[in-house]
Each structure stands twice: as C-alpha cells, then as structure tokens.
Amino acid sequence: MKKSAQIQSYSLTTSAPRKKEESLVWQRIKRNKELYFLIIPVIVYYIIFHYKPMYGVIIAFQDFSPRKGVVGSDWVGLENFRMFFNGVYFGRLIRNTLRISLSTLLFGFPAPIILALLINELRNVRFSRFVQTVTYMPHFVSMVVICAMIREFVSSSGFITEILVALFGYEGKDLLSKANAFVPIYVISNIWQGVGWGSIVYLAALTAIDPQLYEAAEVDGANRRLQKMYYITLPCLLPTIVIMFIMRTGQIMSVGYEKIILLYNEGIYQTADVISSYVYRMGLVNRQYSFSAAVGLFNSAINFTLVILTNKLSKKVTETSLW
C-alpha cells in the first residue's frame, strides 16, 4: 500500500511539470505558426522529388511495366539482383568503378594539397591570386565542353595525340579508341578540372596557421623553407587532409556518370563502363527499368554504408563528422 501511494505521488509530481512542458511546446508552436506554413513547400518538395523516388525504388523487386505502374506490377523478389550478380558484366563493372575511383583518389587527392602548399609559399600576392584564378577556371566550364575538348585533343589529329606521336613514336590513333588509355585520360583531365578548386579548402586551413609557430621553428633551427613546410605547415594541415580523405573514401564506389557517358564509346566499355553509366544505359536507353533500378539500388546501398562507416571512422580519428 505504502509503496503504491509512493508511486502515485511520484507520478503526480512528475506529470505536473510534464503537462506544463507540453503546454509550453504548444505555446511555442502557436507562436511560430507562420514558420510551419513557410516550411510546407520545402517539405512537399522533399516528399515529391526525394522520398517518392525512394519509395519508387521498390520496382527493383518487381517486373515493372509502365502500364501497370508501381502498385500493379508483378513482384519478382531478388530476381533482378540475381541477374546482375550472375551477369557477365558484374565483375567488369565493379573492377572498372574501383579502378577509376582508386586512380582518381591516388593521383587526384594529393594534387590540390601540393598546389595549396606551393601557393602558400609564394611571396608575391598578385602572382598568387593569378595562379588561383587560372587554376580554378576549368571548374566552371561545363562538363560537355570539357569532354568535347578532351575528345578533340586526343583524337587522331588532336594536338595531344600528335605530341605523343612526336615524343614516343606512338601510332597516331584516337586515344579514346584504346581501352588502356581511358583511365589515364579520365584521371589526368580530372586533376586538370579540379586541382585549383580542390585547393581552396587547404588554403583556407593554411591561413589559420599561427605565424608564431614559424618563428618558434626558426628559433629551433628550422631555417630552410622545406623544413618549415615539413615540420610546421604539413602537420597543421593534417587534420583537414585526414577528414577530406575519409570523406573521399566514402565515395569510393561512386563514379559519376556524366563524364563517363560523354567520353566513352562502345569500343572501350571493357575499361570505361562503370556502374552508374551501366544503370543509365540499361534503364534509359534499353528501358529495362526494374533491372537497372536494382543495379542502382545495389550501388546506393553500398555508398550509403560506406558513408556511414567512414563517418564513424572520422568521428573516432578526428572528432569531426558530417553529423
């Protein structure tokens, strides 16, 4: 008896403030009611253009026909996934995606760091601005134009091909018709497009370095610029490098389709075709909606998992994370 009374009194004392709290919440909602009206179009937008397609991904488990719609189409379970995993192209697509992605990471990741370090060592402010302006430029040129330029330059009469012919006696053939030239072309042009823009993050981090550190280093005998670069600048940049690297590894299985489908051709699918370009071709060219939705879902599930994992890792290593 005593105990139940105690419980009752306990619950009484807690329910009173909760009620008060609830009314406070209600008050806050009422006070901000225009705010909730304002957000409606934004929520509607996300529902229609993001969550509805997420629901639409269930066609990956169906034999979807546009006539019957998402609701009426027949269910086939994991058949589409099985078809993809057992298909002839599965290994090739995974290999190509990883090869392009890892090569871009290996060569493309250090490039902006090196550029930022070099720009940081410039004494002439105007020259430094000039370097930045010119190197950022390719980032703003449209992908179609960039790819058109690449295609022209490496075609059989393009100047890059001609230079290679003159230097190495390479037979003057269109480089994009050679399967083993695709990855180098992709990676090098990627660096050209992104090195300047990518360096901004590091330059921002460099401006935050305390100049006293350099003075202290001089006192300690680090007089040469390379020494200061190695012992002061680089360690100060390390946290930024680590987080950028971790974020980048989260995207290891996603190679964008835009550049691929503007550059590749049937003759070099064996090295150039990646998961996303395959999804595009199967789905929107060949109209195999369910199959390519399954391939796409497989890819986004991997990407999602990788982002979660790398974010966890980032939290552990650098105490910074995306959320």
Binding site: V25, V42, V57, F127, N223, R224, L284, S300
Partner: protein, 297 residues
C-alpha cells in the same frame, strides 16, 4: 619575380631563392597547363579550316586568320534557341532555388522550434540516400512533367548542401535581432524579408552564383526529360554538335569535312565566353562560398 624578392626587406639565403625559383617555375608550368587548352581552342577557332587540318602539334597563334567558322555558328538558329532556353532555365531555376533554399534555411536556423530536429533529419537524409536515376525518371513521368520545362526547374529546387550553407549563415545572425523584432510585433515573414535577407545577402549572392552556374552547365536532365528540341538548353545543343558530331543543324555546304573541326572550336568559344568573362569578377564569391562550406564540413 626577382625584383619582388630583392625588394623584400628580409635578406633571403641562396637556398631560399632556389626554393622560390623552383616554386614559381612549377606554378607557371601549372598555369600554362591549365590555360593552354583554352588558348588552343581560341586559336583553332580563328584558324583557316584547310590550314588547321594540315597542321599538327600545338598552336601558338591562329593559322591563317579566318572567321568563317564563327559565321557558320552565328548563322545557326539552334544555338540561339539554346541560349534563350538556357537563360530561361538559369533565371527561372535560380529564382525557385533561392526562394526555396531561403525558406528552408530560415526554418532550420531558428531556435526552440518544436519539430525542427525531425525535419532536419528528414532533409539531411536525402544527402546520403536517394532512389537513384531510374526511380527519379519514372517519378517525373508519373508526375506528368516529362517533356516540360518544369522537369528541369523543379526536381533540383533545393540543393541540400547549399541549404546547409544558408542555414549556417542565418544561424550566425545575432538572436537579439529577431527578439527585438518580435517584441515589436513582427512575424516570421517580416523578420525573414526585412532582417535576415539583408544581413545574409553576401551568402545569398554566393548561392545565386552556385545555382546559376549549375543551371548553365546542366545537360543530363535535359537529355533524359526533354524530347521537344524547342525547349533544349544550350548544353544539349553542344552535346549534339561536339560529342555526337551531328552537324545537320549547321549549314556547312561542300567543304563540310574541312570546316567542321573549326566549327566545333568556334562553338565551344561562343558557348563558354559568357562564363569565362564573368568568372574573374565573380571568383571571390565562389571562393567565399567554398570557405563557408569548408568550415561547416
């Protein structure tokens, strides 16, 4: 450079000078590598087609100055249709983007709003997971937006990354501003329009540029969602001429083989010059936006 180094008050050692020399040398090389492809395109576009085709290797200046390729490009009506459509998509699309992003960011930057946490998660989740290309395409079809201009304007109405940039800017505005306005009886719409927008206009400007450039450069949605060529943006026309090598829109005539190469280069210049001319003036805003994003990230 040497003048600059010697004029510096601190005396630099020999090692320092060698370091500077190598550094400047490397960066000059990089600048040349970044800029030369564009310069080559300019030279090629002004070259005489027959001479250009028989030339091999790099170009330092146009060979046999000719504007024939530009004449063919300007004669072509498709490129102007593309231009007008692109301007429509850039202006209309960016207006929708900014309105939606500002509203969303204002909501997400307010404090003590019940339900904000859930809505934040609801929005942020879309950054990490999406239905993918095919469900998005079928969604546009089922909404009846296929082959409409709205298909290029609405699906990307908010870029969530830009939304976060805007939210960060609005959250950093002093709370007392909002409080005093509320005491004076202002509602949220008044606060947003009269207080927040003027105080965050630099960030709004950055986002106008980000969205504007992305509409200008966008081609893929137009390729998959549009059939009617009258609605086609410039980038899609460029894809047809430059990537698919389809010159049927160009009134080339007999010397087709010869001039088609220089026409391509002239087309690149005509379509890219507006961005490249504006770019040096806008560069600092772009960089600024990148910094805001970087600090947040």
């Amino acid at each position: 450079m040497s003048k600059q180094v010697t004029s510096n008050k601190i005396k630099h050692s020999m090692g320092d000078r060698i370091f500077d020399f190598i550094n400047v040398f490397l960066l000059v090389l990089l600048v040349v590598a970044c800029f030369y492809p564009f310069y080559y395109v300019i030279c090629a576009s002004f070259s005489k087609a027959s001479l250009f085709m028989s030339h091999s290797g790099i170009l330092l200046k146009p060979i046999g100055l000719s504007t024939a390729a530009y004449k063919k490009v300007f004669e072509n009506s498709s490129i102007w249709t593309g231009y007008i459509n692109t301007i429509y998509y850039v202006v209309g699309g960016t207006a929708i983007n900014i309105a939606m992003t500002v509203i969303g960011a204002y909501f997400l930057s307010r404090k003590n709003i019940p339900g904000k946490g859930i809505i934040t998660v609801f929005i942020m989740f879309t950054m990490y997971f999406s239905g993918g290309m095919i469900p998005a395409f079928l969604n546009i079809q089922s909404l009846g937006l296929y082959d409409t201009r709205a298909a290029l304007l609405l699906p990307g109405a908010i870029n969530t990354f830009n939304l976060i940039i805007m939210r960060t800017a609005m959250a950093s505005v002093d709370d007392s501003m909002e409080e005093s306005a509320r005491l004076d009886g202002a509602n949220h719409i008044t606060i947003l329009v009269k207080i927040m927008l003027p105080l965050t206009k630099a960030t709004v400007a950055v986002l106008v540029l980000y969205y504007g450039v992305s509409h200008w450069n966008s081609w893929f949605p137009a390729m998959i969602y549009l059939e009617d060529r009258a609605k086609e943006p410039l980038q899609l026309f460029l894809r047809q001429v430059l990537i698919m090598n389809d010159m049927s829109d160009m009134n080339i005539g007999e010397d087709q083989e010869l001039i088609s190469e220089t026409i391509k280069y002239a087309t690149i210049i005509v379509s890219t010059v507006p961005i490249l001319c504006l770019y040096p003036f806008l560069q600092k805003y772009f960089t600024k936006g990148m910094m805001i994003g970087a600090i947040k990230g």
